[in-house]
Every structure is written in C-alpha cells, then in structure tokens.
C-alpha cells in the first residue's frame, strides 16, 4: 500500500477517520483528567494540526474559497453572465475545432505500428514537372518491392467504385478498392470473418469484375445486412455475382490517399466509405509499360528501425540504377511519405490554421475577462488587505483570489463542452467531403481532457494577472485609499493598456489572415471558367454491368450504342436544348493525361507536352459554350472519317508554338489498340478551366465514337429548373438501360461550388473567427476606456472647471486608447509576418503582402477601435463639472 493510496483512502473515509481521531483525543483527555491534569491546549487547533498530516488541507481551503466565490459572483450577475458566456463560447469553439483536429490529424491510424506505413510515389521532373509526385507504375512497383532492403512489404491498389444492386437493375455506386493480394497484410489487419486474399484470387478478374471480394464492415452491414453467415454467399457487384470471402473488422478503415499531386482520379464517384475490396490482376500494358501507366497507389511497410529518409534514399538509388541499366528515356525517382501525413495532406494546414485562429479568439476573450477581473480586483483590494493584516500568507491569498476565476472557468468549461458537442456537428455538416477520417470525430476522452486543460489554462490565464496585482497592494494603502483613486493608479492603467495591446495584436493577426484568405477565395471565384456553367445539369453514368464487361470483344460498339441512345433520350426531354457528353466529370482535376506525339516533329519521350484527353460528342463544345478560335468543330459527318480532334489554345501553344496546328496530325492513344492511329487537328478552341478553377488545362478533344469511356458525363443545357430536370434525366438514362449506375446527378453550379468546398469552408470558418476577434477586441477597448472614464469622472470635472475644452478632454481619452492600439497593431504586423509562412500554402494567387488585404484589415481595425473609443470619449466630454466634483 503506497503513501499516495493511503492519502486517497483517507480522503474517501475522512469523516469516519476524523471521528476516530477525535475519539482518541477525547479518550486521552479523559485519562489525563483522571490523572489530575487539566491543561489542554486549543483542541480545535490540535485536531486541525493532526489532520494536516494527510495533506488535504489545501482542498478544504479551496472548497471554502470556491464556496465564497460562488456567493460573491451571485451578487454581480451581469459580470458573471458575461464571463461565463465568453468562456462558454471560447472553450466551446476551441474544443469543437480541436475535436476535428484530433480525429483527423492527431490520432494515430488504426493499424498496428502505423509509424512504419508509408506511401510511395514516383517523380519524373520532365513529364510531371519538378517535384510533382504521381502514382507508381506496376512494373516499377514489382521491382522496388523485390529489390528494396528498407521495405518489409509493399502493396498497390486503385480506387475502383463498384455498382451494387440487389437484382442488377438501378444500381448504386459504392466505394471500392482493387488491390494486390497483400494490401491487408501490409497494413497489418485481418478479416474478422473469413479469409484474406491469396495470390490466386485475382485470376480471371479484369476490368473490375472480380469473382471474390472482401467486404469492409460497412459493406458487410450494407450489402448483406450484417449476415453472420455471409462468407461464401454472393453479392451483386457491377451486375455480376461475387463470392464474399472475408469481412473486415469495424475499426479498420482503409486509408484514402490521393493519387498524386495533380491527378485526382476518383472524379468524386464512389469516394465515400469503402465497402468492397477486390483482388487486382495486372493488364498486359501494366506488365509492359516502363515509361507510362503511372496508375497505382502504393503503400509499403518499412522494416523496423528504418528511417523515412533512409527508405527515400534507397528507393531513389534503385530507381536511378534501373533507369541506367534499362536505358529508360525518362528519369524516374521515388518519394516516401508517412501514411498518416499523406492522408491529411490537403487539409492539415487549413485545420491547423483554424485551430490557431480559434485559440486566438479564445485568447482575446480571456483578455477581456482579465480586464473585467482587474476592475473587480480593485474593489476586492480592501478585503485582501484585511486578510493580509490578519496574517494570511501570500499563497493562501492568491488561492483565494484565483478561486473566483476557477469557478467561472469551470462553469464556462462545462458550458463549452456542451457547446462543442453542437459545434462539432456544425463543423461536420459544413466540412468539405474530402476531409479524411471525419467519421471519427466525436467527444473522446482526449477531447474532454483537452477541454479541461483549456479550462484550467483560461482560469489561470485571466485570473493570475488580477490576482497577482491584488497581492502587490500594501494593506495600509488599500485600507486607507478611496476605491476609485486606487483603481486608477498609473500602474493599473498601464496593466489594462498592455492587455488591450495584446488583444489588438491577436486581432491584427487574425484579421490579416482572414483578409488574405478572403482575397484569395474571391480571386478564385473570380476566375473565368471559360465555359458556361449556368443552366447546365449533369448526370454521370457508370457502365458497370456484364453487358459492358471489358473482356467482351465488341464492348466498344456496345458502349457507343448506349451513349448514342442516351444522348437521344436526353435530347428528347422537354426544354432541353443541347446535350454534351464527356469522359471526365468536370471540375474534378486531371484524369486522363497523355503525351502529345507529333509524327512530323518527333520529340524525345519525357519532353512531350502533356495533354488532357477528353472523349466528347460533337455538341460538347457548343453546349459548354467554349468559343471556337480557329478551324471547325467536330461534326456528326466526321463519323465517316472519324480520326479528327480539336485542341485548346494552350495545347496549340505548348505543342505547336508559332506553327498553325490546323491540319496537323497527332498520334491518338486508343486504349486496347496496339498501334496508335493518326488523327487530324481540325479546330482550336479557347482555354477553359474544366479541371478546376485554379488552372487552365491543355486539352485534346477526341470524338466518343473512337473510344467510349465506362464513365460518361452527360450535361444538358435547358431553361428548365434543375429540380424538374434531374428526375427526368435519371428516368431517361434508366429508360435506355436500367442496369447502369448513376453516381452523380446535379446542376453544374453545384459542382462548381463543390469543387471549391475546401476553400469555401476555410474562408467561412476564418471569416467567423476574424469577425469574433474584431468584436471581442472592440468590446475590450470600449470596456477599458469606459471604465477608466467612469473612474476619472471627478478628474475630468476638475479639468473642465479649470477651463479645459470638451474637445481637449475627448482627445485625452482618445489618446489613451491610441497608445495600446498602435502598439498592438505594430506587434500584430510583426507577428503576422512570422505567421505568413503557414498562410502562404492556403492562398491562391494572392501575395501574403497583398496591399488590399493588409490595408483593408488595418483600416477596419483602426476604424473599429476609433468607434469603440469615441463613445467613452463623448461621455467624458459631456461630464457636468458641478455634478462631478460634488460626487465623491
């Protein structure tokens, strides 16, 4: 039994144990009295001393102090309400943001030894651009896996959405993964039911039609209704029956990592919870291609004790050695990233920024409270002086003064946790869908502990300055002095000014960051799309059904037939003017990037300009309203002589320079066709931002009759509202073939706003925090000035009686405000300068020194400060000298 345990035991049973001690002492006294002695000391004091041995006296004192503080606070409900309200909001907001940061960024991934899991990507400076990471090629993966001595094992996988349906009709699209059979072993997890993949499982599975599948826990619940005997049963995936061989445990969530820096790939289809895992079988070209086909996500497990840099160096050396020995025309490298870091790549800086911003707001709120407490502490000075005079120690006095802050903070903390619970839900509702691990955001012990720590920090933070100041007052001064004069000593005024300056510092930083992010967002929204997104409704169709299976000989003809019939059906809908077809969902990033190959102008591999290939129908250009710059559009008559393409201006610039591209031939890489046919460029259209608002792309538009993709995006231009049109479009598609899946159906406007969801979220949240900071700072400046004016009423009265002008008095008050505001602004600018390193990554084409953002936020702050200072200043000027002097 340790000493600590005995202390706690005493605390729990103290009532009984104290009674026993009392009985002992009582007995002692009785016996002593019998022996004829009767000089006992102070029994109460003796008992106290005996109890002190257990070391719990501070707790007793603390409870007494808190009890006293509660009674004192009840007497000033206005202050209490303001303080608890500020704290509730502050702690609630910080805790809510922290709960997201904790789940998304801090909590380790739920795999054994997650620190050893890494993502491997390839680089090729000339093809992808310097430093750009892209997915790996299958051949390179196989080689690295065998040759590497730093990797224990490595797996590759691809996101491959699958369609699910009970009987084959009207299927839904869910998230799926096609992986090398060892993916689960690399991650270190096992199915809780059934078995893992083995090497033979992938036989006969091409183009996403696997014969066996492992279900994730959600998939098991969803697709089999949580059937305990699901192993060996069939589920209908992509229109065919697939045998379930395993089910993953609930806590295992497969990591969703990006393909690379530029390629997003999933196009927003089936990007939700992963439900199905299928075994991967390499295609012919996977086994051959050494200079292209960078198509796979690669996750590896480092050997124990291997550092990230070590693995990075080794893989790069292996890649370079291979480039040399195989005489490759390209320069591939490798980049190893910790998996945990990779998962949160796109969002981590925005989340940290949010947490920093909300902490700043909380800090400003605390400063306001400290100022309020300072004012209260002045009236408590007399009381403290009396206590000190009666012999209370400094520590004991400090504790007594802090108790009030602690009571307030605990009340605020409790309210904050409740608020955070609601705030968390709000954040989850607002957050863009691409934030990983959002489903793991909840009130965990970590979050509660954080809230508790925050509460304590707040209590000490806003309580300690007033409490310490209170200590410094000498009892004789405090007992003698007039409260008002004591409150307005030069020293206490300086303390309050310093607090305001600190507040302004925080506010300047927050306002600046907010202004920059706002500028960046408005610049992003202001970009010209290059196509007309209004009155455009999109339906995305996935041809995942047996009749479109990749192994069929005539599959291209079948797909083309579907596309033609669907286009016709959509065109026939009432009010539809034009219908476009394209192979990539607009505004979802790069998807299909090839090299531009000109037979008349050969360029070595690796130096050819990249082009975004889109398979379109002739109406695409006119429906999207992309202006034709020269030449002509693809037309229906081209079917007779089908090898025609249209390029964008950027492609013309990058691939042809000053030459006229019209009539030139290029190689067209047709999937599944050995020899790339030559196609003639018949037209050049203007650049647009079809991949995303952030950049134009070099495009190559080829007719869909040459190659019809499995994922078809139809866009209908119609005067009809989208709400009426959407069900009609769905009906039209399923009228053509009820077995195709429709993963996306929405107006293009919505697609546009979804594509900037992360930026919008970031702007919205920072905007809220910036506004809150400004408001709190205003209250702070106003509060301090108003208090000071009310304390100096008499002084102002005298000044006025002696002939001071009202304007001069106003100036006096304004000057008092100006000093901390200017000092704070200067400090804030300096602090912002240091913070800009982190802000830069959040900005789109906006300099961190953007004059409008800096000027605007400074003007806003100074204007608001002036406003906050003017009210007390006017009050000072309106003081009636006669009344003020009489009123002691």
């Amino acid at each position: 039994m340790s000493e600590l345990w005995r202390r706690i035991h005493y605390l729990i049973y103290r009532r009984r144990l104290d009674a026993e001690l009392d009985a002992d002492m009582q007995f002692h006294r009785e016996m002593a009295a019998r022996a004829g002695r009767s000089n006992f000391g102070n029994t109460l004091r003796m008992r106290e001393q005996a109890r002190e041995a257990w070391g719990w006296t501070w707790l007793d004192n603390f409870i007494t102090d808190c009890d006293y503080a509660v009674r004192a606070l009840r007497k000033s409900p206005g202050f209490t309400l303001a303080a608890v309200g500020t704290l509730t909001l502050g702690i609630g907001a910080v805790t809510a943001v922290f709960s997201v940061v904790n789940a998304v960024l801090l909590k380790p991934l739920e795999f054994p030894d997650p620190g050893r899991l890494v993502v491997v990507r390839e680089t090729e400076p000339k093809i992808f651009g310097p430093g750009v990471q892209e997915p790996v090629s299958y051949r390179h993966y196989l080689r690295l896996k065998v040759e590497s001595k730093t990797l224990e094992d490595a797996a590759i996988f691809q996101d491959s959405a699958v369609s699910v349906s009970p009987n084959g009709d009207r299927p839904e699209i869910v998230g799926g993964v096609t992986s090398s059979p060892n993916l689960l072993r690399v991650l270190g997890v096992q199915p809780f039911m059934g078995r893992d993949f083995v090497d033979g499982d992938a036989e006969g599975s091409t183009n996403g039609t696997a014969e066996v599948a492992i279900l994730s826990y959600d998939g098991w619940k969803d697709l089999t209704g949580g059937d305990p005997k699901a192993i060996g049963k069939k589920v209908w995936l992509s229109g065919g029956p697939v045998t379930v061989i395993g089910v993953l445990p609930r806590e295992v969530k497969l990591p969703q990592i990006a393909w690379g820096d530029k390629i997003t790939g999933s196009q927003g289809i089936g990007s939700g919870e992963i439900m199905v895992l299928m075994p991967f079988a390499p295609n012919d070209w996977d086994l051959k291609a050494d200079t292209g086909n960078f198509n796979y996500k690669m996750i590896a497990r480092l050997k124990p004790g291997v550092a990230m840099a070590q693995a990075n160096a080794e893989l790069n050396t292996l890649q370079q050695a291979y480039v040399k020995s195989a005489h490759l025309p390209i320069q591939v490298g490798a980049v190893v990233t910790p998996l945990a870091q990779d998962v949160t790549k796109g969002i981590s800086s925005a989340l940290w920024m949010m947490l920093a911003a909300v902490c700043g707001v909380q800090l400003i709120g605390c400063v306001n409270l400290a100022n309020l407490q300072l004012a209260r502490a002045v009236s408590a000075e007399r009381e403290t002086a009396v206590r000190a005079a009666l012999g209370a120690g400094r520590g004991r006095l400090l504790q007594a003064r802090l108790a009030e802050s602690v009571v307030l903070a605990v009340a605020g903390g409790a309210g904050g946790v409740a608020l955070a619970y609601g705030g968390m839900r709000g954040l989850l509702a607002l957050a863009p869908a691409n934030v990983p691990r959002l489903n793991q955001v909840h009130m965990s012990w970590t979050v509660l502990l954080f809230a508790a720590a925050l509460t304590i920090a707040a209590a000490v933070g806003f309580g300690i300055v007033p409490a310490l100041k209170n200590m410094r007052v000498r009892p004789e001064t405090a007992l003698r002095a007039n409260t008002m004069r004591a409150a307005n000593t030069r020293e206490s005024r300086r303390t309050r000014s310093m607090l305001v300056a600190g507040q302004v510092t925080c506010t300047v930083v927050l306002l600046l960051v907010t202004a920059l992010v706002l500028r960046s967002f408005s610049r992003l929204l202001g970009e010209k799309l290059g196509f007309d997104a209004s009155h455009l409704t999109m339906v995305v169709v996935e041809l995942y059904a047996p009749q479109y299976a990749g192994k069929l000989k005539n599959v291209q003809a079948v797909k083309l037939r579907f596309a033609d019939r669907a286009l016709e059906a959509l065109r026939d809908l009432p009010g539809v003017q034009r219908v476009a077809l394209t192979s990539t969902v607009p505004l979802t990033g790069e998807n299909w990037v090839d090299d531009l190959i000109r037979p008349d102008h050969p360029v070595p591999e690796g130096q050819r300009p990249p082009i975004n290939v889109r398979w379109i129908n002739p109406e695409y250009i006119t429906t999207m309203q992309v202006p034709l710059v020269s030449g002509r559009n693809i037309t229906g008559e081209d079917r007779e002589n089908p090898y025609v393409v249209v390029i964008s201006e950027r492609t013309a610039r990058e691939g042809f320079g000053d030459e006229n591209p019209l009539g030139k031939k290029i190689e067209l890489d047709l999937p599944g066709v050995e020899k790339s046919p030559l196609a003639t460029i018949v037209g050049v259209v203007a650049d647009d931002r079809i991949n995303g608002l952030k950049d134009t792309a070099s495009m190559l538009y080829a007719p869909y009759w040459l190659y019809t993709p499995w994922t078809l995006s139809f866009m209908a231009r119609s005067a009809q509202p989208a709400d009426t049109l959407m069900p009609e479009m769905r009906g039209a598609i399923w009228g053509v073939d009820p077995q195709v899946a429709i993963p996306v159906l929405k107006p293009m406007d919505e697609q546009l706003s979804d594509s900037v969801a992360t930026e919008q979220f970031q702007t919205l949240i920072l905007g809220c925090f910036g506004a809150a900071a400004l408001l709190l700072a205003l209250v702070g400046i106003y509060g301090v000035l108003a208090y000071s004016v009310s304390m100096r009423t008499q002084e102002f009265g005298i000044r006025m009686a002696l002939g001071s002008a009202r304007g001069a008095l106003m100036g006096l008050v304004l000057k008092q405000a100006a000093v901390p505001v200017f000092i704070g602004t200067a400090a804030g600018l300096a602090a912002s300068f240091a913070a800009m390193r982190w802000v830069r990554s959040l900005l789109y084409q906006t300099s961190v020194l953007d004059p409008v953002a800096i000027g605007g936020s400074l003007l806003l702050l100074l204007g608001a400060s002036l406003l906050a200072a003017l009210m007390p200043a006017r009050r000072a000027a309106r003081i009636d000298p006669a009344l003020a002097i009489r009123n002691e």
Binding site: L21, A23, D24, M25, F27, Q49, E52, W54
Partner: protein, 111 residues
C-alpha cells in the same frame, strides 16, 4: 510548537520513541504518552498536540496501523500497532541515532 523546551523532547525524537515502545505490543495514544513519561524517569513529556499529528504522519507513512480495542477502563479506543515497515524504520532510525551519538561523544571526548 509551544513548550518544546519544557517537555524536554528533542525535535524529531518522538516518532523514534513511539516506534520503540510499540515494539513490545500495541498501545493506545494515552498509554504511549504515559509509558514514554515513565520510562524516561519523567524527563520526557509527550504533549497531546504533538502526539496525535505525529501518529497521523506515521499512519500515513505506513509505519503503524490502528485498530479498535478495549482500554483498561473498558472504553472502546484505538490501539496502534507496529507494521513490518515500522520495524524497518525503527532499525534504520536507531542505527542513525547510534552513529550520531557516537560521533558526538567522540567529538566531546577529544575536545
């Protein structure tokens, strides 16, 4: 503490004395005070105000435990008993005490 000089108790000696007299069996508080007084030929007096805080500290350290018993006057009262830790502590304190007294004597003899 008050009356330190009058009761003749050197500071820090009380726990050692209590441990010592408890060696022969458990005792209640008053009996301890009595025994120390008598055994010291009435040189040492144990103040109540010192005895009970010391006993609480010893309970906390785990040197003694308390259990209910019946006093010679037929009252229910707590008896304090030495624990193995207490015995070990006594041994350590005695060794330290012997060394110090020996050292003091050595100094005084040669001085």
């Amino acid at each position: 503490m008050a009356n330190r000089s009058r009761d003749g108790m050197p500071p820090g000696a009380l726990p050692m004395l209590i441990l010592g007299i408890l060696q022969s069996g458990s005792l209640h508080g008053y009996a301890m005070a009595q025994r120390i007084h008598v055994l010291s030929s009435e040189v040492l007096a144990v103040e109540e105000g010192l005895l009970y805080p010391t006993l609480q500290k010893m309970l906390l350290k785990g040197w003694v435990t308390a259990e209910w018993g019946i006093s010679e006057t037929n009252r229910k009262v707590r008896f304090y008993r030495l624990t193995p830790q207490g015995r070990a502590q006594l041994k350590a304190e005695l060794a330290g005490y012997d060394r110090v007294t020996q050292a003091i004597q050595d100094v005084l003899r040669t001085a």
